[in-house]
Symmetry: C2
Subunit: 321 residues, 2 copies
Amino acid sequence: MPDRTLPFRSEDALWQELTRHWPVCQGNVVVGVGDDCAVLRGDSPAHHVLFKTDIVVQDAHFTAATPPRLVGRKALCRAVSDIAAMGGRPGAALVTLGLPRPGGGDSALPSPSSAASAKFFSANYLRAVYQGLKDAAAECGVSLAGGETSRARQFFLNIALLGETRGYTPVLRSTARPGDLIWVTGRLGNTQKRRHLTFTPRLAEGQFLAAESFATAMMDISDGLGRDLPRLARASRLGCSLHYATIPRNRGADLRAAMSDGEDFELLFTTAIDRADELRRRWHFPCSITCIGQMSAKHTGRRAWSPPENWIDGYDHLKQP
Amino acid sequence: MPDRTLPFRSEDALWQELTRHWPVCQGNVVVGVGDDCAVLRGDSPAHHVLFKTDIVVQDAHFTAATPPRLVGRKALCRAVSDIAAMGGRPGAALVTLGLPRPGGGDSALPSPSSAASAKFFSANYLRAVYQGLKDAAAECGVSLAGGETSRARQFFLNIALLGETRGYTPVLRSTARPGDLIWVTGRLGNTQKRRHLTFTPRLAEGQFLAAESFATAMMDISDGLGRDLPRLARASRLGCSLHYATIPRNRGADLRAAMSDGEDFELLFTTAIDRADELRRRWHFPCSITCIGQMSAKHTGRRAWSPPENWIDGYDHLKQP
């Protein structure tokens, strides 16, 4: 397909183009496009509402072979991870379900194979998806408050999720400072087989980092460190450097996998350099934290930091293979 | 397709089955599954938060021939109409965009035709969709606060929308009383050609009906009066009767069309019988209101009211043709 139908280099470029003229900070919106969640003013200066929407689509985020409970779990936990990435506590969620018609009898359109479609739309399949949703909601403190269904050509689940912070402000991507250290929770890479379905959102960890003012900037790693760290750097209008050797890797992951597999759903955050010892001392969660690099002032004369030539890139949903 | 893959008579039956074991009124959720919006407790007893998600899907809610500005407009206005149906004021919205790949090169799956796919994914198409979204948002007082994209096999737009009521409680479907009169705003039927794309959500009307305590129950008509009125009756555990002759119809709509076309997005509401004259006197909006029937106590011994034999049914997304 020629490029004139897709003049966007990446998902980020597409969003930038489409939302360029949006009035993003109207009304009670404090942070709009460009962070993990939208941030809205709450009922007092110490209260902020977080608002997030996230979708999993058949064959993009899971396959017909994925256990349906894990499809439901993943859909919810992805959205919860974005609330965690701002240091928030999740609240109510709504579910939108796209349901292919059994047999795919949509005359105007190509039909999905009957077998696959029937599987996605069977009662037991849907019940298991919802059980996964419900279990993950209970685990994360989310209230499932309703939703709706639509006929669709492929099975999908969209989650709209509210969250909040009280007593401290949500941590953004855009507030890292030159010299801040760069950290990740847990280990990265080799996520495709099962980890992308079974991960636990870093809720308590994110809340601790935000409430204790350790994190100067934070996000979750959904598209790989190689893609998400440049997003944090650009949002903060800074440069950054990584010490590749220090990046904590999951078993079976080489450096490339740790940088680019994506769907790690670990927290990526920055802290002031003089709080590193205190953070290590007070860290009391089962998952590890590792310092992997440092933010730097961006080079003068450049509009935004770009990864160096040898940078290992992450995952882009819209990029042509 | 045999019924064993779809043991649900309708969209309503599917939702009932899937959400039967949900803890729907956990946390700050006041009303969960089963109304136009979820209702959450606000920052004071006089404040309620409304939360809604709604999707438009290519070939289900619009076609390749639909002007893209109207696709964006419809997506937003559908969700706003549900806020209006509870008497609320809309706030921030998030957009989830499903984007087919140009050329449809998804090897494991049937490809949509290149021409259609390219159209849906062209830069100008997307810009026009977003312009429609933005214009409708400005018109309805909605703040577009962000969103995300996913690759998908068909183009879709999901809207997650927040709203609120202050100083009065949201009007539910479930609070009609025996003897209450049944009303609709505007005219019904013959919506398919253009009206389903260009309607104006009845925001001011809904707020007036709620704030002045006229409406004892309310919802918007999305699947046709013939399907939505039974929903209101069942939610209120009442029966109802319609005077078919009084139903206000759009030009070109016969009674069947007025009952079953769907996507009218007019308000359907009930009032106490002794406030009818006051309502008529104080109604100051350009659109009309018409009394079309009356709620009745349900027949004893029946679990829920069912439409009579000769009832003209509305639209069900999931029903087999």
